[in-house]
């Protein structure tokens, strides 16, 4: 390129004057097109590609058979046997992980090698399909690093998923010569089928020193709690068969056993159960007379009846998962996939991911001794719980069993949670199926605390320039016994608040906060000046509330500190004609919102409103200068799942929509705008969180036939 343009340039001045103008333009156009084309080509070829297809470049297109061969001398070192006393604080080097702003461990994978012994015989199969999937998943995950020096966890590429396919001593030697082995510190091995005949150890027999083991058949004696990770035995059927989720409910069989090679003793016990309970128990076995070409693993038989496996699992409420020679059984995965509740009969078995998964919600564990009582035990499980277990079982399979990727990532996450406990995933996140996560609420103020009355409340008055009315509100509110501080939020940037000497003299501290912008959300900012839990938001024109009413409102809030407690109540209704939500301020028998022109609530909700309001609601409110109160009602109802509390009878309130009560014309646009807000917020929240109730709170003796002077709140409800 350089040469071509240089040549053209040098000759250009001589050439161009000789050409006709038409040609000159033609040449210049041509030249610039070519130049542009070149630049574009360059950009297209090099720049974006270096990001987009970096994996293309680095992914070597080769076969697993082309990997380097490593010869293991017969006398190369063998690691110590696994150390049963290992725990994270003794055998794991946390310093490798360090404090990390993302709170993610870094995982390094050794590159694949083929190991042969002195005579050139290979030590094992190079790598299995599942282990390759597992390593690919780790490599594609956020945990992966290719920098061995920054890694906190090392995963050898030596495949030890199935101990039967290994030469134990040589595999151990292969591990010991890994570049960062260091007695296996921070190394993670994945094994699903441990042990071998005749005694079938419950953990991998390969000597591995301090390495962590993600194992598929641990018993309480081999599992190092808080160090090892118990994983499922992957069922290859998960990838082959697509079983659509079946709705929970009663199914054709009550108990089903589908395992093929049960110990005769177990089988006879199961058959006794069947004899006792008839049709509802189905015990399947291997088919003896299948025609050629039908895969035996996909069929089960009972007498002469042939059933498709794993489809038949969906026909039963409970499915038996009995231990075999090993504790971990691949059938567990199939059973969960079918949404059948597993009945686990394997004493001392550590269930998969038991460190984080609550198996009591998805399975029934029965001691081997109690097998004969299985039927009556299962009948005592309430129907509602069975349905929930069916859903839970399916969810466990979808989230943690369905692929090697799911298994690998859950394992790494568990180790990650141990290293960064303050960023650990919660019980709910691990265990709640999406539907439950969606419908359940976890109230941030869940502890039932009745705040001491002595604490009092802070009144926040949002004002712009109505000084006279503001002063009246301040004077009125200051009469409330439990008021502990008054905060005026001065929302007018063009005008200074009145001089100190002009403000009413009241018995509690009065503070004025000036804001930078005239925004409605300033009312809900968690000002440092608020030192009480209770906040009373009050407009600068609410002068009609009596001191008794406000004090009573505060008392009510103390009993319901996690709710909005307010005076004027409003309702949302479904408009069947328009097919959308409608705002209602008429005399209704129900309330679902209270206006924050006068409402008590917990200061925490100010924090939520300012920092955790979903979507663009906060900006939307500030832009429209309306509906901040509806937004607050949505927020509180959504996070607590509870209704508002409206206190005391209806009064004449000075607010735009209240004019209707005064007999004046209704501000139609205002109502339309408020309805729009409800629809907008409902779509942002993705649901309608507001709760409709039919009650309001009154003083105990309200309107009772009793001397007024003996009542604690006599001055209530006067118009």
């Amino acid at each position: 390129i350089m040469c071509a343009s240089a040549k053209y340039n040098t000759r250009g001045p001589a050439l161009i004057p000789r050409m006709k103008t038409k040609h000159r333009i033609y040449y210049i156009t041509l030249f610039s097109i070519v130049l542009l084309g070149l630049i574009a080509t360059g950009m297209f070829q090099f720049w974006p590609h270096s990001i987009e297809s970096s994996s293309d470049w680095t992914v070597e297109k080769r076969s697993v058979h082309d990997v380097p061969v490593v010869k293991l001398p017969a006398d190369s070192p063998i690691p110590e046997r696994g150390d049963l006393s290992c725990r994270m604080h003794t055998c794991f080097d946390v310093y490798r992980c360090g404090f990390n702003p993302k709170n993610k461990i870094k995982v390094y994978i050794y590159s694949l090698k083929k190991y042969v012994d002195e005579y050139g015989t290979s030590v094992s199969n190079t790598i299995s399909r599942e282990y390759n999937e597992l390593l690919t998943a780790i490599s594609d995950s956020e945990f992966y690093t290719d920098d061995v020096n920054r890694a906190c966890l090392f995963v050898p590429s030596v495949d030890v998923l199935n101990q039967n396919a290994l030469r134990i001593k040589e595999t151990a030697q292969a591990l010991a010569q890994l570049s960062r082995w260091d007695r296996g510190t921070n190394h993670l091995l994945f094994n699903m089928l441990p042990g071998g005949p005749p005694d079938y150890n419950t953990a991998l027999d390969v000597p591995r020193d301090r390495a962590l083991l993600a194992g598929g058949g641990f018993s309480t004696w081999t599992y190092r709690q808080g160090y090892d990770v118990s994983i499922p035995v992957y069922s290859p059927l998960s990838g082959e068969v697509d079983l659509p989720e079946r709705g929970p409910g009663p199914r054709r069989y009550f108990i089903l056993s589908s395992q093929m090679a049960l110990h005769p003793e177990y089988r006879s016990e199961l058959e006794a159960l069947q004899a006792e309970n008839g049709e509802s128990v189905l015990i399947l076995d291997k088919c003896t007379n299948l025609s050629d070409g039908v895969p035996a693993v996909r069929k089960r038989c009972h007498k002469n009846q042939v059933f498709d496996y794993p489809q038949v699992l969906q026909e039963s409420t409970f499915c038996v998962v009995l231990r075999g020679a090993r504790l971990g059984q691949a059938v567990l995965s199939d059973v969960l996939q079918a949404g059948c509740v597993p009945v686990i009969i394997a004493d001392s078995y550590i269930l998969p991911f038991s460190e984080v998964l609550d198996w009591k919600r998805a399975s029934v564990v029965i001691p081997e001794e109690k097998m004969p009582e299985m039927y009556s035990i299962l009948q005592s499980v309430p129907q509602r719980q069975i349905e929930e277990m069916q859903r839970q079982a399916r969810w466990f399979w979808e989230a943690y069993f369905r692929s090697m990727k799911a298994i690998a990532l859950a394992t790494l996450q568990i180790i990650n949670d141990r290293i960064y406990p303050y960023a650990a995933i919660s019980y709910e996140e691990w265990n709640d199926p999406p539907a439950v996560k969606w419908s359940s609420v976890s109230n941030p103020l869940f502890l039932p605390l009745i705040p001491p009355q002595s604490q009092g409340f802070t009144a926040i008055v949002l004002t712009y320039d109505r000084v006279e009315s503001l002063f009246r509100v301040i004077t009125e509110v200051s009469k409330v016994p439990s008021l502990s501080k008054l905060l005026v939020v001065w929302n007018n940037q063009n005008k200074n608040p009145p001089e100190d000497s002009l403000w009413p003299k009241i018995r509690v501290p009065l503070k004025v906060v000036r804001t930078a912008e005239n925004k409605l959300s300033n009312r809900f900012f968690p000002y440092d000046e608020i030192e009480t839990e209770a906040v009373l938001a009050i407009d600068d024109d609410i002068i009609m509330l009596t001191s008794d009413e406000l004090q009573f409102g505060y008392e009510v809030w103390r009993e319901f500190p996690d709710r909005l407690v307010g005076y004027p109540g409003r309702l949302h209704l479904w408009d069947h004609e328009m097919n959308k939500w409608k705002y209602e301020s008429e005399w209704t028998n129900e309330v679902s919102m209270v206006l924050t022109g006068a409402a008590f609530y917990h200061k925490y909700f100010n924090y939520l409103y300012t920092y955790k309001m979903p979507g663009d609601i906060k900006n939307w409110v500030d832009a429209h200068m309306n509906c901040e109160d509806i937004a607050m009602n949505f927020l509180v109802a959504n996070v607590t799942g509870k209704s508002v509390i409206k206190v005391t009878p209806r009064k004449k309130f000075k607010c735009p929509e209240c004019t209707a009560i005064d007999g004046l014309s209704l501000d139609q646009t205002h109502m339309v705008e408020r309805s729009e807000c409800i629809n907008k917020f409902a779509s942002v929240f993705g649901t309608m969180p507001l709760k409709v109730v039919e009650h309001r709170a009154d003083p105990v003796l309200y309107k009772d036939d009793f001397p007024e002077k003996l009542k604690s709140f006599p001055n209530i409800g006067s118009l």
Binding site: Q385, P421, L710
Partner: protein, 712 residues
């Protein structure tokens, strides 16, 4: 000219095309680009033949690993029993489940011997066990045995150390190698190494021990309990220190530690390093070298300065004002190698920052990174755990027993959810249900709602050939409610109930239960009650359908509380600044009488199964006390006052009966949570509100009102 133009044009075009197709590829190999190649991640290769790889196990191998030639399950179990003993004990190998089958989970404690001194703490433990609902004085019935020898302090330098325990226990005929025994221990070994040595062979007994080393802990068998002092209250227990939920959790200090710095021996490393995180402002980490008698021997240069600092700050003040703390008050736990108390049931990750001792220096930065809402949740959770499981010896002992009971019947045990959600595992009885939706406490977390119907449960006491007039009227009124599913009459007056022909025809089924004339009977969990909500009524209660409807709608908003009609008036006396009453209207407690109240049926189970039998006997002996006990129970469980709703008119009941009931109850309470309930009583006095229909007595047309009849 033309040819030349064409030539130039073609050259450009050709070179452009060439560059487009090959140039990029060529240029990539230049040094400039290959540096980038190094920067790019070297991922796990996508093998060309990955689809040809073999599975880790062929399907046959996966599905049929049970080799019939292997030892039979029974032989294997027998072999296991002989191998996994003592230090390798598990429930399956060292615990005799058959002892618990016939009589259920019963606990026997050895009779106390006169010459045997008991420490204050151990007497409290024994007292808790004897008051437990699982206690049995008969060793034949027992499933679990507790020694009368004080094994709490096994530091042989201590005054409480009991000698020759081995010989003593071997002489007990029931000892049986320690099978089905539970041994409590608080201290073992001595400074500097604090070994786990108890000085005797516990054999196959379950060890409930404070500060348990992970290494000697037998998972699923032993239990780690919290360390408590001899002053720890037997019952009730102090409420936690959290009085308010502040956000942001602004406390004076972010992180505090104050404690002994062991100069040598176990724990000295971390405690010596603690001063590195002290910044004197919001992170306070104080240590003292004064520990034992001879601390000056090991004294180092920092001791003097430390001791001065140590005296400057008051421990109580620090803990009250700190957001996080290490040791003593729960939130930051640096406990490498220790089993956290009740970790089998409690999810500590929800309540505390569990840190690694070796990353001590990172704790300040980690703690600062935690979101305020998480801190708020930690604070409340810690408080809940303290209240539910730690605040008294009773709670510690009962939690230990319940954990063991849960192991016996895994299918009838509490999920981690029930243990870690308010009101806690001790109050969620798995015998009632293991499904969260069946309890009154979990509707919101569970995403479900209480049933839409209720059962009216009427106690009839006046004998007669046919039901009394008030009873008939009541049945009429209640059955007209759209929410009523069934009416259950508890006939408790000694005589057989009238034949079915004498009962009124109603739209809902009416069932009659013959009671036993015991007052506590009205809170028995009858199987006939099939809805979540129970409307408890007395024969003489007079209620209108509107009242019932409105109260039920309110109850659905507060399913964990008692929602009742006030049956007494009380008033505020402004001169004496207290609640007062006239001679006609007695005490305040009457406001929550269950003569007409909605509550969740689970409270019948708690009343009958959770409360100690002695308390129910007491109630049977007194008149009109059982409903107060019910109120105390619900308040103790929920820590919330009941709800009152509008009532049309005052209910009539004899006052004298009421007064007598109160006096008796106040004098004779042996409630296990006496202190809790007294705290609750104080809260009841604060009750000042009543829930009315939204338009109650508002000046608006009657036609608009849903419950106009309530205003008459």
């Amino acid at each position: 000219m033309q040819t030349r133009k064409k030539y130039i044009f073609l050259t450009f075009l050709a070179s452009w095309l060439l560059l487009f197709f090959f140039g990029g590829d060529q240029l990539r190999r230049f040094a400039f680009f290959s540096r980038r190649k190094v920067e790019a991640r070297r991922n796990w290769p996508h093998w060309t033949d990955r689809s040809l790889l073999k599975s880790f196990a062929d399907p046959e191998e996966l599905l049929s690993d049970g080799d019939p030639s292997l030892p039979s399950p029974r032989e294997r179990q027998a072999a296991r029993l002989s191998v996994y003993k003592n230090s390798r004990c598990r429930m399956e190998t060292c615990f005799d489940f058959s002892r618990c089958e016939k009589h259920g989970f019963k606990v026997f404690s050895y009779p106390r011997e006169r010459d045997q001194p008991l420490s204050e703490s151990y007497s409290k433990i024994l007292a808790s066990i004897e008051r437990s609902r699982y206690y049995t004085p008969n060793p034949e019935e027992a499933c679990l045995f507790i020694l009368s020898i004080d094994t709490l302090d096994r530091d042989h330098l201590s005054g409480q150390y009991v000698r020759n325990v081995d010989e003593k226990i071997r002489s007990f005929p029931l000892w049986n190698g320690g099978r089905n025994h539970l041994i409590f221990n608080l201290y073992s070994g001595t400074w500097p190494n604090y070994t786990e040595d108890l000085g005797f062979d516990i054999g196959q007994a379950i060890l409930a021990k404070a500060s348990f080393y992970t290494e000697s802990f037998r998972p699923g068998f032993d239990i780690s309990i919290p360390l408590f002092s001899k002053d720890h209250p037997q019952r009730g227990g102090e409420k936690g220190w959290l009085y308010q939920d502040s956000i942001p959790p602004k406390k004076k200090y972010l992180l505090v530690f104050k404690g002994k710095r062991y100069l040598t021996g176990i724990g000295s490393g971390t405690r010596n390093a603690l001063h590195h995180i002290h910044n004197g402002k919001d992170i306070i980490s104080l240590t003292t070298c004064k520990h034992g008698k001879d601390w000056e021997k090991h004294k180092d240069t920092r001791c003097d300065k430390d001791n001065v600092d140590y005296e400057k700050f008051d421990y109580q003040e620090l803990l009250h004002n700190s957001t996080f703390c290490i040791a003593a008050c729960i939130p930051v736990l640096l406990s490498d190698g220790w089993e956290l108390p009740f970790a089998e049931a409690i999810d500590w990750g929800k309540a505390a920052v569990v840190g690694n001792e070796r990353l001590l220096l990172q704790i300040p930065s980690a703690v600062r990174c935690i979101h305020p809402e998480r801190v708020l949740a930690f604070q409340q959770q810690t408080q809940f755990l303290w209240d539910a499981y730690f605040s008294s010896v009773d709670k510690i002992v009962h939690t230990t027993l319940e954990i063991i009971k849960d192991r016996l019947l895994p299918h009838r045990s509490r999920s981690r959810f029930l243990w870690n959600t308010l009101p806690g595992g001790l109050l969620a009885l798995p015998d009632f249900s293991t499904h969260p939706g069946d309890f009154p406490f979990y509707y919101l977390q569970h995403g479900s709602s209480p049933s839409e119907k209720f059962t009216a449960f009427i106690r009839a006491i006046s004998p007669g050939e046919s039901p009394s007039q008030p009873l008939l009227r009541l049945i009429q009124a209640v059955s007209r409610s759209q929410y009523c599913a069934q009416i259950v009459v508890l006939w408790s007056c000694g005589k057989p109930p009238p034949p079915s022909g004498k009962w009124p025809q109603s739209t809902v089924p009416v069932a009659i239960i013959q009671g036993r004339e015991k007052l506590s009977d009205r809170f028995f969990p009858y199987a006939a009650i099939q809805t979540d909500a129970v409307l408890s009524l007395d024969e003489h209660t007079s209620l209108s359908t509107s009242e019932v409807d409105f109260a039920f709608v309110v109850w659905r908003s507060f399913p964990e509380r008692i929602v009742g009609f006030p049956t007494r008036s009380h008033f505020w006396d402004p001169e004496q600044r207290r609640w007062g009453y006239t001679s006609k209207w007695t005490n305040e407690l009457s406001i929550v009488l269950t003569a007409a109240a909605f509550y969740h049926r689970y409270y019948h189970n708690l009343f009958t199964e959770y409360l100690p039998a002695g308390l129910r006997e007491l109630v049977d002996g007194l008149a009109a006390c059982e409903d107060i006990l019910m109120n105390v129970l619900v308040a103790a469980v929920t820590k919330l006052p009941p709800i009152k709703v509008t009532q049309r008119k005052q209910h009539k009941e004899t006052v004298s009966q009421q007064v007598k009931g109160m006096a008796g109850a106040a004098g004779g309470w042996r409630f296990s949570q006496r202190q809790d309930c007294l705290n609750q009583l104080a809260d009841w006095f604060g009750l000042s509100l009543r829930l009315d229909p939204v338009l109650f007595k508002d000046q608006v047309s009657v036609l608009r009102k849903k419950y106009p009849r309530l205003e008459k």
